[in-house]
Subunit: 229 residues, 8 copies
């Protein structure tokens, strides 16, 4: 099994995923030490040729991670502070283009995670921010841009209604990301999650709460499939 | 206590509510026999001068109720089949006017309950039907009518997003009624309920699931307060 | 769309809301930096003529926000410590008057948010505090005051029973605010929320948990509609 | 173990409970056949000297049960249709007296179960019906009767607020029974259950949803303990 | 608004959706009478040129619906008994091809709904049935077919693990449909829903419980976007 | 209303409760400042003659509270560190005697609250600790003591089974207190709460999670009613 | 893949499971027609040599299933009415022996399913019935039998406390099966499920609600592993 | 009762458990002071001859616990930092051997608790780490090792699918431990818990969330029963 995985003691890294799915395993930084993240990143950079990404990295750990990896592998990495993501070997060519729409300012961190991961993989992102449905004309002002989008990720907390309205405006795939934004009755994102799953706009699909990373990966599945078709 | 209540054996009727709140106690028909409903209706018609209403009356019981009450009290009653409501002494004068908006066909029964009860109390109703947010232009076609409304009741199931969009369009009070309409993830109205409570449109208030009656009574509190101001 | 919104980089401000709904967008301070709040406040003060309000502002940020805005716009702002609200250009004329009733001492912070926002918008507030139903005579001592109220906001945690009792005493609109006060079985406000939605007093409406702001806005919809009728 | 239990094939009957707890095992009729209920009743009547009770007995099964037991044991049994309870050897002497209060007509079945079981055990019941808190004066009209009660069982659905108000009026033990009565947001009794557990009236205790039997047994524990003190 | 919608009394039909989104509004048959369904179908067939579909149609209603529509519009319709779907003007040309995978026999009805709707819209379906993860080799036997798929819909109840395993095997978009299949702890599909939303395979998206229709529409968004690119 | 309540600005104190229910209002210390607690305590000590109690008092606040009250009122108060309770004018005479049983060490804090409050009111407490059902013989070793108890409070977390076993052993009232003790699946006391409400031992009643105070007050209702009978 | 599975059109049968896990796939009868069950049974009987079992078979279907299979394959099958299970080629040799304990009469159907499946596989069952913890002495009367058991399955509804008590009495494996028995607060087995997962008796494991089949299969894993060790 | 328990003031220690169940009571360190843990450990070491274990011990307390016990009892103890477990008198002989499988790096802490406890009791552990189902080939690479295991503990968070796949691969007992690992929709382990309870692999049993200790004890019940057979 040496060709497919490597055992770092603390982690068994799936080295084969880039070959199998076109994208190397993304490092989930939460709960990992700086050293662990650096070790995994080096192993992935060594065994693959494409981008390598770490999400949910603690602010204070980034200098050490980037320093370590830089020293070891001579590969430059970038830290995206808006989403606590690190990217090595960002894909410079544009494989596709998507649009990310947010309902409010506080949904920005989740949208930024979706954007960082997408961009790293060669998928460029157009952003339409702060167009929650309480002022529907704000959204409709972007109707043209939305209708020309190839795929839309909708990021919204509270009641998550934006996903339904966008889903009714466009014909292309819509991926909804519920966020944990909102007063008590938003129940840390559960309300938005249920609302998006029950959307009256047919064909909207949903990922987990605050999972901007998951939405980016779903978009990547679609864009990569399309680009190789 | 004889002036305030009467004991019918099966029920203690609150005869004083019309004086105290302007509207006689409304009979909740579910789980009551035709005889019990008729008894209560007669007691209320006797002790009060305004409209008397029974909701959630079983289809098969209405003939008997109306026959009994008619024979006993010489007062005509009407059965509204769309909402299983009976109304005696509908208030003919118009005390106010409200608008009821529904998201889909299957929300119609709840909207009809709200309409029957409102109308009985002298509050006339304008209806805007089937304008769910998946086709936002359907709703916007009614923007003028909505902006001139004095109070809006929004009836919606699934993700209940209509309440947020309407709440953002109008400046007047918006009362949201979640309905139990929708696929599995609508969870019998819980999804719409939570979504409406978390609405990003400030100042939307909510009543219980499928509670068209409650929305009508909330509207009546407002219209009656206004009409006596 | 330049007339309707302005893009501050971090936020897209809805400048049109005052025209559309009579009240400028209220700034939700939680999760925003002092600079962001100040930027939005200045933009709203510039583009509108009425009051501007920020809720859920962190204590430590207020000096900086008020200093910045004062320097930039020569407009005095007040910090309400009881509810962490900032108000600029409080409306001095009285557009209406409402009553806020609380069940216990710990519901005070939510009631204070409702009061600060209402007062900023020109709606004066009478308070009846600490009249939970376990000592029903405390509430009944205020029966006269309650009956003369034009609208009642009931703020209660634990089992939220106060909303039902008040709803039965008065004929005017009752808006219930569940709070997250109470022992373990209060489940952070869920118990009070469900209880208020199931109130046996017909026509009580409900807003989200701890959402004093939402109750004030619902009251404003009603008072403003009434005052312009 | 022959003295303590008997094995009827379908059921192992606890014959010792009357000695241990003062009351024979009560037969839970739901899901048992008429023959099984009759068998158990005969075994209990044989081995004990006090009352024997079966709850939740299907209407159609009662004739057969009572016929069988009568033929076998020459002991008369009574069927209480309001609560689907059968009682053999009702205790004629009065061991104590309690009060049962209901919020609405539809709580009657649960209250009837509590009453039938109590009465069978020698505990006489005073009833105060239909005094839900939406008309608080209806309840206060009974304040004198409530204050002289020795123990109060409160039966209420919807938001269950009656338990808190009664708990604040009386000094004696209050046992609250949530019922599954109410519109959608009552969630089959969960709302009333949570509300009663979070009561602001200190020292109210609660039994399970619709469990009138449980409330009666809790009352019996108290009355019997008191009567033997 | 005459060009965009038509009012049938019982329903306001969105006639514009085909132009806006490429697919006419799909008729949700549950809770509608045969006449209502037929009316809507005729209106849609009249105003559009592409396929028209009705889902969740009651068995006993299909003859009457198809007879009515046939008589009125001379357009042949087909009833798919496996999913209670009616299709008029099935698109004969193949716009794309997808794969539907099921975990067990009882997931078949939901998969059939996804298949009927897809097929009507010109999307051909390959099926891989009964490959739940308890016998992982059954699934791996289809690894080649899965890897050559362009989009995979995974339909599974119980613990929904199939979505994660398939998501790890293929690089293309995976849409997961939780079904209400399973013993008590499957909680009518909630368990599978949560599991799919928490999938360790990055980029899997989810639709509501038993919502085969929603999965087909999500696939259509993707295939149509691709085919027009 | 001056005789019944007093308004301290921050709190409206119910001065009448001792007369009405035999016990002065108990001060809930959580979320109140030392000054507020001291103010309320003084008001209650002034207006009543019996014990005064404050629960959930922060450790660091007790010196100041007791100092203030002592200076103002010359009444000695005691701090019970095991339960963060302060007691003034503990009732020295014994009105009754109850037994508190705990399942494990970590249930001790809740049991201590029940004990402090009971003791303050003149109800002496016997403790049986650490007799969880996993070692049933530990409990049975106390069978004699349990059988001679006049009332039993059972305090247990995890699965709360101790309430059922004790309920089956004794004939007297059993009040169950679920605690938030236990691994993840104990869900902060919800599991024990539901288990106690579903107890197979008839007549067990329940108070809210971690509500030792509530259990003590329920016991006081019973003991005081008994002692005055 | 022809050796491992067979495709019956309606079902893909896993023929390899007996070889892989020692027990052929068990047919889950719910939702399958008599013909489908018979087809699968014949396929399994053909391809394997050991017992074949179908659970949750509808009463009315059994004659037809057994007739069909008998005619086709000359193999006798037995219907167990207590659990709606059919067994073909029951293993006559005793591979092991386990004990099943139930709390109440209504848990019998789930216990019967566990027993039928176990017995079919060669695992003999001792039953201890109706020993719920409300009469702990009933259980302790069987202490000797329990201590000599090799594995205990505990079947209980309501609060499920029996699992904890048995878990504390015996040293051998204990598998707990929550049942959906009980009043409203038992929540269809959820209460017992949570209680068993939170058991204070260390090392008790749990299967899903009403899943007697699952418990039998867990026991079989253990007994077969042991018997081949 | 002196032979069976000892009362340390803060705790009643069950000294008899080693005799009754083969393993002394394990000390649950959470919420206990260093002194309390040391006291209990000394009591258990004195009264028993086998291993003594404390779980969930705070890092900062271990030096003091081990120092105290060492000084008092001359018995060496080891602290396992990966799981915050202390072990005294680890059983050196091998009574059995089990395999623990984890889905991801962050499940390691729970697996370490299971391993420390098992090892202390004489059960040696083989570990297979980081083989989540998103890369099913990683797991299948260990198929041989899994098939030769005598018992498998599966530790997984997120959707917990690993339990089903392993359950289908092996014939021996599988104990599943859900962990609280994962994004928002994992709901602190609830998703994995429900998924494991609904596993399509028959005969998988489950312990509570993050309860590595419980899994080890369940394994010990099985291994010890087997070793004494």
């Amino acid at each position: 099994m040496s060709a497919l995985t490597t055992d770092l003691g603390h982690t068994t890294v799936d080295l084969d995923r880039e070959r199998r799915q076109g994208i190397a395993e993304v490092i989930y930084g939460a709960g990992k030490t700086a050293t662990e993240i650096a070790d995994i990143a080096i192993a992935l950079l060594d065994a693959n040729s494409g981008p390598v990404v770490a999400t949910r990295v603690a602010d204070r750990a980034t200098d050490r991670i980037l320093g370590d990896v830089f020293a070891a592998a001579r590969i430059h990495g970038d830290f995206h502070a808006a989403s606590n993501t690190i990217v090595w070997r960002r894909r410079a060519e544009e494989l596709g283009r998507i649009t990310i729409v947010t309902a409010g300012t506080t949904d920005g961190r989740v949208a930024a995670e979706a954007e960082s991961v997408s961009d790293a993989l060669g998928i460029r992102v157009d952003r339409i921010n702060d167009v929650g449905v309480a002022g529907i004309h704000r959204l409709l002002a972007h109707e043209g841009a939305l209708r020309s989008a190839r795929l839309v990720i909708v990021v919204a907390g509270m009641e998550g209604a934006l996903a339904s309205v966008v889903g009714g405006l466009v014909a292309v795939p819509v991926i909804a990301v519920p966020t944990s934004t909102g007063y008590g009755s938003a129940f840390e994102g559960v309300t938005a999650l249920l609302a998006m799953l029950s959307s009256c706009a047919a064909g909207v699909t949903v990922v987990g709460i605050d999972n901007g990373f998951g939405a980016a990966m779903a978009a990547a599945r679609l864009v990569l499939a399309r680009s190789t078709a």
